[in-house]
């Protein structure tokens, strides 16, 4: 099995996007390959100015919970999703956008951060990545 991590990011929740990008860049840092397949609510985070826009998966409280968590994260010196994505890309991480979600939600390529996206694909692309991966996660 190849030294590779393939993650399906189905959720667009801020905390889960953190998990996906932290695991992805951690894998790259430890010498593995990594791909994240952004689908459904996760794909929303690839929209221009969309990466930081996700709600908190629990205790969002109309944004108050997210605001509080953000303050705590700032205090703990947690980096932004924007910077995590930059590092993920710099270390060779692959970003795949789900084209079926784009069709369902009426999202065009020009609505997305095309500079981050390596490929547009469907389930076959995910399976092809996952079958050669030692680790695959659904977030």
């Amino acid at each position: 099995m190849a030294d590779k991590v393939t993650i399906v990011l189905h959720s667009g929740d801020m905390d889960k996007v953190y998990s996906a990008l932290i695991i992805g860049s951690g894998a790259l840092a430890m010498g593995m390959e990594a791909s994240i397949f952004f689908t459904f609510w996760g794909l929303q985070r690839l929209k221009k100015d969309g990466l930081e826009k996700g709600p908190l998966s629990k205790m969002h409280f109309l944004g108050l919970g997210k605001w509080m968590v953000r303050q705590r994260m700032k205090k703990a010196n947690v980096i932004t999703l924007e910077r995590l994505m930059r590092d993920f890309k710099e270390l060779g991480g692959k970003v795949i956008a789900c084209d079926m979600t784009m069709e369902i939600m009426g999202i065009r390529r020009e609505d997305l951060r095309e500079d981050w996206i390596d490929a547009y694909g469907a389930v076959g692309t995910y399976i092809q990545e996952a079958r050669g991966s030692a680790i695959t996660l659904f977030i």
């Binding site: 932290i22 840092a29 430890m30």
Partner: protein
């Protein structure tokens, strides 16, 4: 051969690990990368990454919350 300093003091997961890896990628073979930090888990995890990458871990010094790791590319 250069010595490259990566100062990750005050940074938390996954920054020290990721910054160490970025520096290793940019370094030339033979260069020494010196990572300094305060994040406890990274003191254990950076050496794991160094071994996984097949590089030479020169030293790990200091305490859990104030450490220096030296790596040869």
């Amino acid at each position: 051969m250069a010595e490259i300093l990566v100062d990750c003091r005050g940074e938390t997961c996954p920054v020290p690990l990721v910054e160490a890896r970025k520096a290793i990628r940019r370094a030339q073979p033979g260069d020494v990368i010196v990572v300094i930090g305060t994040h406890p888990a990274s003191r254990e995890e950076i050496p794991m990454a160094v071994r996984a990458l097949g590089l030479e871990l020169l030293s790990v010094e200091g305490t859990e919350t104030d450490w220096t790791i030296r790596i040869r590319r």
